[in-house]
Amino acid sequence: MPDYMLLLRGTYHVERRLSPAELAAMMGRFTGWIRELGARGQFRGGDPFQQEGRLVASGGGPTVADGPFLETKDAVGGYLILAAETLDAATALAVDCPLVQAGAGVEVRPIKLMAP
């Protein structure tokens, strides 16, 4: 099974919008979802990101800025790497993700195997 990276967007926005009880319930569902993926051997890894970070402008150079990532609804808040048979199957998994169900966006990107 090939690996897919799920880039989760807008997770900070979701966290701010939910009440503490709703957030706890959602994280409970999220944990259950990961547990199941783990049991099926499809969970490869993943972590949330801190809100603070740096943005280096393309082209390198001296233009380095602190990222106000939390301001935008599509700020990347974390990633997951899942194994799935096809891009469609990976997408179906992404749609089931409780964070996505709660309003986060997700970019599903197959890991590219470079030609030898």
């Binding site: 944990t31 990961i34 547990r35 993926l37 783990g38 049991a39 993943g46 972590d47 997951l80």
Partner: protein
């Protein structure tokens, strides 16, 4: 807040007995039995850190909660440091590998209502069928009961070095299992109940006849053994008649602990105990468990010992004790499980039921060098000689008992007895 080192040491010793086993079991559940050494390390480090922090800042308001939180934090650090190289419990591996789920997962494991189940699963995991029973029991005492190697070695009259070796071999077997034993398989559990009961009985006895200096009765050890036995008695697969009988025995003995010592920690003999201090609710619980243990026709030593304890609980006053029945029960106990200690207890009961001469004859019939080294034998002889008016022989026996005393309270108790049979100056 008191924080003088001696007081702190006592508090930490008690907490260790109550918490170390529980923490080790939860950690072994999370990290997997193959990392049981890591689990033990985390507990040791947590306790060492607690001693340090508390010596400086005084005892926290809820020391047990403090320990749990410290162990949890230490576990999270350790998992982060080792998760790329070490395999933990297979069913938690994915959850522990990700920062999305690591902390909530560990938190939930420490919080869960089923910590009792983890403790049970650990006890049964220790009873691997390929291990000799002595090793199974030693492993339970070490990992679940919070015993130190020195204490287990003393129980088995073995050297610490040889016990350490035995434990290492037993742990190697435990480490081969990917996860703790599942409790689902009733037959798998039932086949492993006996070593678990043996371990809990040993733990209880160590508390009840505590040999530690200054602690003739370690109530905290007895209560923890009772709690663990209660878990077994409530689990459908483990609640065999003999499990219920052991639970009954522990209830009936723990119920009488408040009467066994003075507030100053001195031992009180049965006839001087204030029976109003006995815990009637716990006696009722013990009696109910004893009734429940009668199902089936297998009679275990635990059944008989519980019946003996019940005889004492049922007597409104010491002089109402039915010693004749107690002698019969000891006869049955000796048939099921011959031990010099039970033989001595029988002889004492004979002395009460049929008079001191009969008691002395019963004592003379036991010959076991192990008894000679304990204060119990000499104290029993002293009492009977005294009853017969043979003060010189009584004093001689009590002097031997004093020499064999294992703790200060025990010594003070026997010195009082000795003084009572010396002629007044």
């Amino acid at each position: 807040v008191r924080s003088d080192p001696a007081h702190l040491r006592v508090v930490v010793d008690h907490l260790f007995r109550e918490e170390a086993g529980k923490l080790t079991c939860v950690l072994a559940r999370i990290l997997g039995p193959r990392n049981v050494d890591l689990a033990e390390e985390v507990v040791q480090e947590t306790l060492a850190r607690a001693l340090e922090a508390w010596a400086e800042q005084g005892l926290p308001e809820r020391p047990a909660a403090w320990l749990t939180q410290a162990a949890r934090n230490r576990a999270v650090d350790l998992i982060r440091a080792k998760r790329r190289s070490v395999a933990f419990a297979p069913d938690l591996e994915a959850l522990l590998s990700s920062e999305w789920t690591l902390v909530p997962t560990v938190q939930a494991m420490f919080h869960q209502e089923e910590i009792g189940d983890d403790v049970l699963r650990m006890m049964f995991s220790c009873c691997h069928l390929a291990l000799p029973q002595e090793a199974q029991v030693a492993l339970i005492l070490k990992l679940v009961c919070g015993f130190e190697v020195r204490e287990i070695a003393a129980l088995y009259l073995a050297s610490e070095a040889s016990l350490e070796k035995r434990l290492t071999r037993a742990k190697a077997r435990l480490r081969r299992a990917p996860g703790l034993l599942e409790l689902g398989g009733a037959s798998a559990v039932a086949g492993r109940v006996d070593p678990v009961l043996t371990a809990l009985y040993a733990m209880f006895s160590e508390g009840y006849h505590g040999s530690g200096p200054g602690h003739p009765v370690a109530a905290v050890t007895c209560r923890e053994a009772l709690r663990l036995c209660g878990l077994l008695a409530e689990h459908p697969a483990a609640a065999l008649p003999r499990t219920k009988a052991l639970f009954a025995l522990m209830c009936l003995d723990v119920a009488r602990l408040p009467g066994r010592t003075t507030p100053g920690g001195d031992l009180l003999p049965l006839e001087e105990q204030d029976r109003a201090t006995w815990d009637r609710d716990l006696i009722d619980r013990g009696m109910r468990a004893m009734a429940a243990s009668q199902e089936g026709d297998a009679l275990s030593a635990y059944h008989v010992e519980a019946a003996i304890a019940a005889q004492h609980c049922l007597a409104p006053r010491a002089e109402d004790t039915d010693w004749a029945t107690i002698v019969e029960l000891y006869d049955r106990l000796l048939e099921l499980h011959a031990s010099p200690y039970a033989a001595l207890a029988r002889a004492v009961a004979v002395g009460r039921a049929r008079g001191a001469s009969a008691g002395l004859a019963a004592i003379a019939a036991i010959s076991d060098p192990r008894l000679e080294r304990t204060p119990f034998l000499h104290a029993a002889v002293g009492r009977m000689r005294q009853e017969l008016g043979e003060s010189t022989a009584a004093a001689q026996a009590f002097r031997r008992a004093v020499r064999a005393a294992r703790s200060d309270p025990e010594r003070r108790f026997l010195e009082r007895k000795l003084a009572a049979c010396l002629p007044r100056a």
